[in-house]
């Protein structure tokens, strides 16, 4: 019986070991799945934030377009129609010459042309046809019209990003340009975009007065917005700044 008891002891030890393995595996599995679930929820949260940010960005862009429309109507078309009305008044009172009619015709034609351009810009499909490069060029021209800043754009012919991501990237570039002009008092800004198969790199350099990148207390809403938006795009952002200006680097995975 001694031999049998020895064998039974070995079986008990072996079974205890397998039990330990079984319990350990169940516990490890629970922990692993919990981590995986946490990762999944974080991913979902990030996706929700992305959608929220996209909606916000679209609304901001529409609001900006409406504001620009108001200015255009008042400053441009309103002025042209005012001139036309004046010319009609003059013609009514003193009889118009062929030249005056020609000027009147030109003024009304210009007003119509401006209206058409505005109507085109109001087209709701513009968001679906959004192009980062074209919009950045328009924004640069708008800023350069103030004669206070010159902007150089260096970019590939096409950006390999989805329209939604291009829209968010445009807001990032817009924010950076405004920061350079408003806070950095920059007179020249260079925006450079480079892409390869796996990443898109954006660099925005200005010759402004710079800021202390390590001092988070002076970090404004603009910088926070850029950080947040780059994170939503799954990229990385960094700043280098000194008395000679500020350099912003953005790296986005493609």
């Amino acid at each position: 019986m001694d031999i049998l008891s020895q064998e039974i002891a070995i079986i008990v030890v072996g079974s205890a070991f397998l039990l330990f393995v079984a319990v350990g595996m169940i516990v490890l599995f629970l922990i692993y799945q919990k981590r995986q679930l946490k990762f999944l929820l974080e991913k979902k949260e990030l996706s929700n934030q992305f959608q929220h940010e996209l909606l916000k960005t679209r609304l901001e862009a529409q609001e900006e377009a409406m504001s620009r429309l108001g200015s255009e109507l008042h400053d441009n078309i309103g002025q042209l129609l005012g001139s036309a009305k004046l010319l009609v008044g003059v013609a009514e009172r003193s009889g118009a010459s062929p030249e005056q009619f020609h000027v009147l015709d030109d003024t009304i034609s210009k007003a119509i042309q401006e209206l058409r351009a505005l109507s085109k810009s109001l087209n709701t499909e513009w968001l679906e046809k959004f192009n980062w490069i074209d919009n950045l060029r328009t924004e640069a021209n708008r800023l350069m019209a103030t004669k206070e800043v010159t902007i150089t754009l260096l970019h590939p012919s096409l950006i390999n990003l989805s329209l939604d991501r291009q829209l968010i990237l445009f807001r990032i570039a817009q924010e950076a340009l405004q920061n350079g002009i408003k806070h950095g008092k920059a007179s020249h800004i260079t925006v450079q975009a480079e892409q390869n198969e796996s990443a898109l790199t954006i660099s925005i350099a200005d010759n402004g007065k710079g800021f202390d990148v390590n001092d988070h207390s002076i970090e404004g809403v603009g910088v926070t917005n850029i950080r947040h938006r780059v994170k939503l795009l799954g990229g990385q952002v960094s700043w280098q700044s000194g008395p000679a200006g500020t350099h912003l680097f953005i790296n986005l995975p493609l």
Binding site: L4, I8, S15, L37
Partner: protein, 229 residues
């Protein structure tokens, strides 16, 4: 032998299968999936078989029948649980192998004289393999619901716990019985000594039933707390 010891040796198995039967029956009130119905039927027949085995001697045929029934019952459960066709085919192959082994055993001329270790080892290996396949399925299909709320996970864990823990008992019980029978000391006392090993297996069966019951209570109370995750 006291009444309690008599109960432990002869009726702890139908008691454990009976608990599992009641628990799965209770679960079918909220989840009417065919896999749970299959388990209810399996546990019900297993309870009756083990009840009969408690009174009968020899009862080895009843145990062999339980082995076949377990492979079909648990196999049906896994078949319905698996999403992948390959995993389902593995279950079918396993049940065919187990059934084929049982049939060769049935058509043997002599009735079984010792515990059929091989049949139960095939059962244990099959269930452990299917449990791993289930875990793989969970890892590749992560849902937002915490795993601790998943009754399937706890049920499969209880099977893994029982079959992995009993593996060595199944593997050696037939061999030890044969060894004891061939020795000159095949007394009641020595047979009782060997049956202690089977009692250890019964404890594991009881713990796996508790595992299922505990997890049911856990899920029930966790789901009642709105803020718990």
């Amino acid at each position: 032998m006291t009444t309690f010891q008599f109960f432990l040796h002869n009726f702890s198995e139908p008691f454990c299968y009976g608990i599992c039967f009641l628990l799965t029956l209770l679960h079918t009130r909220s989840d009417k999936h065919p896999k749970w119905r299959a388990l209810v039927a399996y546990y019900f027949i297993a309870t009756l078989l083990m009840w009969k085995a408690g009174y009968s001697y020899p009862n080895l045929t009843l145990y062999n029948l339980l082995c076949l029934l377990s492979s079909i019952g648990i196999g049906t459960y896994f078949y319905y649980t698996f999403i992948s066709t390959i995993k389902r085919r593995i279950v079918i192959v396993y049940v065919i192998v187990q059934s084929a082994y049982y049939l060769t055993d049935v058509f043997r001329a002599d009735p079984p004289k010792v515990f059929d270790s091989m049949g139960f080892v095939i059962l244990s290996v099959g269930v452990v393999l299917m449990s791993f396949l289930f875990m793989h399925q969970i890892l590749t299909n992560v849902t937002e619901e915490p795993l601790s709320w998943n009754f399937d996970f706890w049920f499969v864990s209880s099977q893994l716990f029982y079959h992995l823990g009993s593996f060595f008992v199944f593997l050696t019980y037939g061999y030890l019985t044969r060894k004891l029978q061939s020795s000159n000391d095949y007394s009641i006392e020595n047979r009782m000594y060997l049956s202690q090993l089977w009692l250890g297996h019964n404890v594991l069966l009881f713990l796996s039933a508790l595992f299922i019951g505990g997890s049911m209570l856990w899920i029930f109370f966790r789901k009642k707390l709105p803020s718990s995750l």
